[in-house]
């Protein structure tokens, strides 16, 4: 579905308040037709349609504060066709498959410039020190004489450090940013899956269980804005699925998992995995998750505290299944247990909501 996001309306203003919509969901518009008016710190401006199309969904209401880059509306369109463009993005990155700067939720800012005086730069050149790799301890992060000398002696004794690149670099930044914002709480539980027939598609069961959890507790499928302290419950479950690759962690998004049949979901999963492995996945397929699943149990580990990546508010971790003695009607039998972990952002959810969600997930898996 093509989204239209709030453009930069001028001179670096970062947000706008929605004043009024001129159209409704279901309306058909032509390019340049007025869509809505918004008020920035400087002006009330009318925003016209960037393309022809039918309005599928309005994401914001009059009075809402929207930040540049946040979606205003979605046009109807076929998800699998190539028409899923994000319009309103001045620096479109579509079709640029060689870039490594996407994955795991929001991409953070680029590399900051290096602040150092000419004398420090000269010293660094002399000592063979790369200033890009130094965190300055001087005023406003500038690099000092001591910084350069320390780095030079460290390099002499332990060799040079390797800067992270691409996916690994983006992951490091995203996780650092998530870690700095989120107030994580984790719940652990396990459920008997001994009754599952052979050949059960475990990932599909997990997806169905998560949908069931969202139905029981819709607030878990939401976006939370920590700056505004505002939350938007999302109707559609767009599930981020963690995929481990030799290059690093990818979290492609499987759209609308609540309304697709098993075969369709399996196809979608296979396609995402294939695209990730071939490194052909477009950036937009990695954006917009409303909830995430990490199925690390296919490798090892029972319980974990996976990181919630804003604006999402929760992530489910499925651990490695294990056997233990079970009891049924006084008889001991060989039971198979699946461990589950749920980490949620306590700014957005409380323990009761999280526990009800997890309870519904467990109940679904035990069916």
């Amino acid at each position: 579905m093509p989204y239209f996001t709030l453009p930069d309306l001028g001179e670096g203003l970062q947000e706008a308040e929605v004043v009024e919509w001129q159209i409704r969901e279901g309306d058909t518009v032509n390019v340049d037709d007025p869509l809505l008016s918004v008020e920035t710190a400087k002006a009330i401006v009318d925003i016209p349609a960037p393309q022809d199309g039918t309005i599928a969904t309005l994401f914001v209401q009059p009075g809402d504060i929207v930040h540049v880059g946040e979606p205003l509306l979605a046009f109807e369109g076929d998800e699998s066709s190539g028409s899923q463009t994000v319009v309103g993005n001045l620096e479109s990155r579509e079709g640029d498959d060689n870039r490594d700067d996407f994955v795991v939720g929001a991409v953070t800012d680029g590399q900051p410039g290096v602040a150092a005086t000419p004398a420090i730069r000269a010293l660094a050149r002399h000592l063979g020190v790369n200033l890009d790799r130094i965190k300055g301890s001087g005023p406003a992060g500038s690099i000092t004489l001591d910084d350069v000398q320390q780095h030079a002696s460290l390099k002499q004794s332990h060799g040079d450090s390797t800067p992270l690149r691409g996916v690994a670099r983006t992951m490091a930044k995203t996780m650092a940013s998530a870690g700095a914002q989120v107030v994580p709480v984790s719940l652990f539980d396990q459920v008997s899956v001994a009754h599952w027939p052979d050949g059960t598609d475990i990932t599909l069961r997990l997806i169905r269980a998560i949908v069931s959890g969202c139905q029981a507790e819709p607030q878990v499928n939401a976006w939370f804005n920590g700056e505004q302290l505002s939350r938007r419950i999302v109707d559609r479950v767009d599930l981020g699925i963690a995929v481990d690759t030799p290059d690093g962690l990818f979290v492609p998004v499987l759209r609308d998992v609540a309304n697709r049949d098993d075969a369709d979901l399996r196809d979608g999963l296979n396609r995402l995995r294939r695209d990730v492995e071939a490194r052909k996945i477009p950036a937009k397929e990695l954006q917009g998750a409303t909830l995430s699943l990490s199925n690390f149990g296919t490798l090892a580990g029972r319980f974990a505290t996976p990181v919630v990546v804003p604006p999402q508010v929760a992530i489910v971790g499925a651990g490695k299944r294990f056997t233990q003695p079970g009891f049924r009607n006084g008889e001991v039998f060989e039971d198979v247990q699946m461990p589950l972990s749920l980490t949620f952002d306590h700014r957005a959810l409380n323990g009761g909501q999280a526990a009800r969600f997890l309870g519904a997930v467990l109940a679904s898996l035990s069916e």
Binding site: F4, T5, L6, P7, D8, L9, G10, E11, L13, D32, K42, A43, I44, V45, D46, I47, P48, A49, P50, V87, G88, N89, L90, E91, D100, D101, G110, Q111, P118, R121, R165, G166, R169, T170
Partner: protein, 359 residues
């Protein structure tokens, strides 16, 4: 000949498109060409605002209401003259050979928009000038050199009414007078300097009268009136080319748009003033006059607007399809030869932006 005084506005067309003084038969082709340009630029301008509103263009300064005076400038400049614009001169630039997609590139933050085609008159012109008034002294410099070289060319510089309060404006008029420079200063008096109205700008009765202090000729023209503007600029540029000195022209117009896309004029401009200004606007006025005289009709209008739409759409497609410029461009056009310190930075920049680094 026409009346040239600082206190009375030279007009050829009444606001309802009736002629005060009809042009001769040999003048119509030029007016029709002028009208076509004005209609094209109006369509282009509207589309540019929408591109900004949908995130495809940076902050943009609309030229709505300035079509007649800027078109007249483009029609009267000779290829060898020099044009030094401020930032509402889209029509002049277009007539000087700047492509519409380049105008979009400029406002989209792409410096290649200022790389005017080598075979166009614009190659002699300066790029847009967003700081207020600084282009005026630069134009005086260009005119000084043109005079030293005995070129018999004219330099046309534009500014808004707000710029006339700056020292640069008075310094320019002063040297233009004392050195007899081949310089025409065309003030687009659109009544607003962002939110400051003309009456708070200067206590002078007119802006044109400021020429008197500098010892040069100054007069007022109806900036919404293409034939009047052509009279004024033909006269002024010709005089300048013949070494007869500088002239200040105050073109009376009205800014029908916001100051830029980052402005909201409804906060300080009365709706009734805007409504009144629309009754005097230049495009409809000239169209009416042409229709009246039998030189334009509804079919021609329809066909021309369709042509404009296509031309503007093609320019937009071409603009949107242009790959971003390399980051190193920001250093490459600063110096003829880059100093060693910047050479190192340039290498670093190149490596970062193309070497697989996180940009």
């Amino acid at each position: 000949m026409f009346t040239r005084t600082p206190y009375e506005c030279h007009t050829r067309l009444a606001v309802d498109g009736q002629w005060h003084a009809r042009p001769g038969d040999d003048r119509w082709a030029r007016l029709i060409e002028g009208y076509r340009t004005m209609a094209l630029i109006r369509q282009f301008d509207k589309k540019a605002v929408n591109l900004q509103r949908t995130g495809k263009l940076g902050t943009y300064a609309s030229c709505l209401g300035a079509e007649a005076l800027t078109t007249a400038a483009g029609q009267t400049l000779q290829p060898d003259d020099y044009f030094v614009p401020y930032y509402r001169d889209q029509a002049t630039q277009y007539l000087r050979g700047v492509r519409l997609e380049q105008i979009l590139q400029y406002w989209g933050g792409d410096e290649r928009g200022n790389d005017f085609p080598a075979d166009a008159p614009a190659v002699r012109d300066l790029p847009n000038c967003v700081p207020i008034g600084t282009q005026l002294t630069q134009a005086a410099g260009v005119a000084t050199k043109a005079k030293q070289r005995h070129e018999h060319t004219a330099v046309l510089v534009t500014c808004g009414d707000g710029a006339t309060s700056r020292g640069d404006f008075h310094e320019t008029l002063n040297v233009a007078g004392v050195w007899q420079l081949p310089l025409i200063v065309l003030v687009n008096n659109n009544q607003w300097a962002i939110s400051v109205p003309r009456r708070l700008q200067t206590a002078s009765r007119t802006i044109a009268q400021k020429a008197e202090a500098a010892g040069i000729e100054g007069f007022q023209v109806d900036g919404n009136d293409l034939p009047a503007m052509l009279d004024a600029l033909d006269y002024a540029l010709d005089r300048a080319r013949h070494g007869k000195g500088a002239i200040l022209i105050e073109a009376m117009s009205y800014r029908l748009s916001d100051h830029t896309t980052a402005d909201d004029a409804s906060r300080y401009r009365k709706a009734s003033d805007l409504h009144a200004a629309w009754q005097r606007e230049p495009v409809a006025r000239l169209r009416q006059a042409l229709v009246e005289a039998g030189h334009w009709d509804g079919d021609q209008e329809k066909a021309w607007l369709e042509h404009c739409q296509r031309q503007v759409d093609e320019a937009i497609d071409s603009y949107l399809a242009t790959p971003p410029a390399p980051a190193t461009d920001m250093l490459d056009y600063l110096y003829a030869n880059l100093p060693p310190a910047l050479l190192a930075q340039r290498a670093q920049l190149e490596q970062r932006t193309t070497g697989g680094h996180h940009a």
